[in-house]
């Protein structure tokens, strides 16, 4: 089996974390991970980076910003009549 360099490992890291790599390439990546402590740390902390962002919910839009938006939509509706969106 071809032994990956760290550079080759890094190039595949994103796809590996997204489970978009299968078969022999995946085996090569896992082989490299088991032998290279630096790449193991990089892989582990990159995975945590992605996970930490996924866990953050967006904050609610302030009420006045939402109201301003809905008022603008109502105004647009009045301007377009019932024919909006029918172009």
């Amino acid at each position: 089996m071809h032994l990956l360099t760290c550079k080759e490992f890094l190039a595949e890291l994103s796809d590996y974390l997204d489970e978009a790599v299968q078969g022999e390439v995946r085996q090569q990546l896992e082989q490299h991970l088991s032998e290279c402590p630096n790449c193991w740390v990089i892989c582990d902390t990159t995975r945590k980076t992605v996970e930490i962002y996924k866990g953050i919910e967006p904050v609610p839009v302030p009420e006045e910003v939402h109201q301003r938006l809905m008022a603008a939509v109502e105004k647009k509706k009045a301007a377009c009549g019932s024919e909006h969106g029918k172009e």
Binding site: I42, T45, L69, K77, G85
Partner: protein, 208 residues
């Protein structure tokens, strides 16, 4: 306080979009309530300016309302919305920077391999070291320090959790271009966050 009335799973988006297309403003407002926080956050990440982000939020939904009839349902409504929001955000950036070259498609620095500079083990639950507000500030600042092509792709793929294909579609990029930007974005963020999250005492040069 605005709350969505239902979880994502049971929301029949196609039906709500169809009602909105038929002129039902209440249906359109359901779409606004569902997606406005994500669009505001995305616009904030791209424009890096609160006032611009609020303008982008409004312009995005107004444009969506105006062009609802053109939405075909081939892509998800949210992906369609994101494409409008990205365009509006880029227009804001160009106007503010008086820079006509602002583009997602700007060449990424060629010749530089994706790399990791900071190599240190993190704490098991590093986020618990910070309050929720502190954590949010650290994460937001890290994203905002990325160059435009990277932070935009990261915001769509890893924050909004669009697929690679949806991100490519929303940004008008090829799939390899999305992947290469995402890899670089993730590695750069990892470097930045390592300074906050590394295990204390792990080496003599620990940050804190």
């Amino acid at each position: 306080m605005i709350e969505t009335s239902s979880g994502r799973g049971v929301f029949d988006e196609a039906a709500v979009v169809a009602r909105a297309q038929a002129g039902d403003v209440r249906a359109f407002s359901e779409l606004v309530i569902r997606y406005e926080r994500n669009i505001l956050r995305l616009a904030q990440h791209i424009t890096q300016n609160r006032e611009d982000a609020e303008d982008v939020l409004q312009d995005t939904f107004l444009k969506a309302y105006e062009h609802l009839g053109q939405f075909q349902g081939n892509s998800k409504f949210y992906t369609w919305l994101v494409r409008i929001a990205v365009n509006e955000s880029l227009m804001k950036l160009r106007r503010r920077k008086a820079d006509k070259t602002v583009s997602i498609d700007a060449p990424v620095e060629t010749g530089e391999e994706p790399m990791a500079r900071e190599i240190a083990v993190w704490e098991d639950n590093p986020e618990q070291r910070y309050s929720r507000e502190e954590l949010r500030a650290i994460l937001d600042r890290a994203v905002e320090s990325l160059a435009l092509p990277y932070r935009t792709v990261f915001a769509l793929r890893d924050i909004d959790e669009l697929s690679t294909e949806e991100t490519a579609e929303a940004l008008g990029l090829s799939i390899p271009a999305v992947k290469s930007r995402l890899l670089r974005a993730r590695l750069q963020l990892r470097d930045k966050l390592t300074r906050f999250f590394r295990r204390k005492g792990d080496d003599a040069f620990a940050y804190m």
